[in-house]
């Protein structure tokens, strides 16, 4: 199981299939599992500590979620050490996702001026 493709043309690369490397990553997986549990506890705790500002409540909750998701993607899904091709695909996807969400929200909240009353939609 230890014949590796990448080491053949890139000697600086660590052998991803060697038992030592896998043993090391297993520790990483457990650590990330711990972080995810902690993050979940933190998110729920934030809910019970009432923050008056809606903006900050949403921002903090989504920030924690993003960090958690980042760990899942980077470590469990091996994205921290992935091939260029996959980065390319994902960057395009994220760009279009932002386009979909952002432009739709913008379009829904940009009203023609003559329909506004005191600067707000009637």
């Amino acid at each position: 199981m230890s014949h590796d493709h990448s080491s053949s043309h890139d000697p600086s690369h660590v052998d991803h299939n060697s038992p030592e490397y896998i043993q090391k990553t297993i520790k990483k997986y457990l650590a990330v599992g711990g972080i995810l549990f902690g993050g979940t506890v933190l998110t729920v705790a934030m809910y019970y500590v009432h923050i008056p500002s809606v903006f900050w409540t949403v921002t903090i909750a989504l920030l924690i979620a993003t960090v958690k998701a980042g760990f899942v993607a980077a470590v469990f899904m091996h994205l921290s050490d992935e091939r260029k091709m996959i980065y390319g695909v994902l960057i395009c996807t994220v760009f279009f996702l932002i386009g979909l969400m952002g432009l739709t929200l913008w379009a829904m909240n940009d009203f023609p001026f003559f329909t506004l009353v005191d600067g707000k939609p009637a």
Binding site: C92, T93, L100, T104, A107, M108, D110, F111
Partner: protein
Amino acid sequence: MQSTTTTTTLDTHDHAPHHDPGFLRSYVFSTDHKVIGIQYGFTALMFLLFGFLLVMCMRWQIAKPGVPIPLVSGLLESLLGDVAKGGVMSPDLYNSFGAMHGTIMVFLAIVPLAFAAFGNFVVPLQIGAVDMAFPRVNMVSYQCFAGGGVVMFVSFFIPGGAAQAGWTSYSPLATIVPTHGQTFWLIGMVLLITSSLLGAVNFIATVIQLRAPGMTWMRMPFFVWTQFVTAFILLLAFPPLEAAGILQLVDKVLGASFFLPTGLVVSGKLYDVSGGGSPLLWQHLFWFLGHPEVYVLILPAMGVVSEIIACNTRKPLWGYKSLVYSVLAVGFVSFIVWAHHMYLTGMGTKISTFFQTTTMIISIPSVIILTCLFMSLWGGSIRFNTPMLFALAFLPMFGIGGLTGLPLGFNFSDLHLHDSYYVIAHFHYVVAPGTIFALFAGVYFWYPKMTGRYMSETLGKIHFWGSLIGMNLVFMPMFFQGLYGMSRRMSDGGATYALSNAANEGVVTALTGTVIKMNVFITHAAFLLLLAQIPFIINVFMSMFNGKKVESDNPWQATTLDWQTPTPPPHGNFTKEIVVHRGPYEYSVPGHPTDFTPQNAPEPKLVK
């Protein structure tokens, strides 16, 4: 990139014992990309004809409202019942046929033909692959497509008939129509979208992973590039429509109100839903697919045309790199132009300006592509065979379609033209004499590779000239009808709003007699167009048995790898090891012994 690792796998089929997989495995549940391509092609052509026949009924109703449709009136009445009483189209039936004409043409005819059929058959051959990366996924993709087609087709015969809310299925209309046609439409769409997604994953993985040794990115035929970009568009633009379809299905079946606003009144009564939804949300999700879909329709067509032009002018494509970068740019920008379909929904000026700007930007790479293809003709010794005639006709026809789109992209001129016959003329010029001509060209061009026989040139030329004249006579007058203010989706061809109608006396915007009379003219032209398709249908079937046999595996003397296989290509495609040595369009290279040098040919001895 010059890897050497495929050799072991590429030549295994040489030594593999021959075994007969049986009829079902060979033709129905085949995992061979070529068989799947032909399955897609055949199904899509059937739907193309079916969609055309639907619109023929509509054209009759537009020209002669209330008069029974000749020839098929009895059939329609017996099949569909009350909605076609006495063979006359009721407005409901007209709406059904209109909605299904659009749906069938876009999702069941053109996309499967342009992307799935040609893509499946040609792409693996052109990149020197043995098959698609995931042959079984490929088979499932076709089965989902066929399932979606069956659901759509069956919906005509359920009580109340097929979907009636247009191919765009805007809510609330789509949701509140009391029949179940829309439910079928949504289930059909979910199947078709699944099919497209599986296909798109497969195409991208195939192009990235299975290129033959030496087939670098910039040596790929332009057709492969267009399919590659198309696959990306399908992959990323379709899922939001799938989401929207699921939401509308929940609205329709479970009575939710994602797209139904608070206080919705239907037929004078408050509609029994919770409300709180947003009709515009549907439009955003729909057009997020809807606009990129336009490029799904046109890009493969451009790919087909460029292959045929390069081969039949016997010279390289002009500006290969510009073509590649342009097609990438089109694919990219196509995701952020969608709301130019929605100028009339009351968007603010800032966002309208944004979408107007991106819309104008996307026309630049499109024009570059068209210009490169025109320039490629310069100085070529052109062979005017049928595929080339269709490819040549594509250029000006698509040009007309594209240029007439600009007034629709500017929001101030769109206010007048929106939802008029002008729009119909515009997008039909892009898709009908544009894309469909390119696809006909593709059928004539690759038919010898699929069957080992040419299609008849005589019948082909009748088909071509009849179609070219018919298409223009049908769609050109629609521009004028639209400019005069005739709205689309009127089951009486505008008679209600005609000056001749006593109720409209003195109304300056009423439709003049000339505009109404054009309806009759267009309908006659449409019958001419229908007649012109008969030679094609005969040609496809007759040439399988009577067509002139090809003299060699490369009957057009083409350079790309699809012609360097046996005819028809066997399972596994290539009988020799494929190593690519050169770019895709080395025609008439000075000093080479022939006027074409295949991509896999080693450096030829130069002729002194």
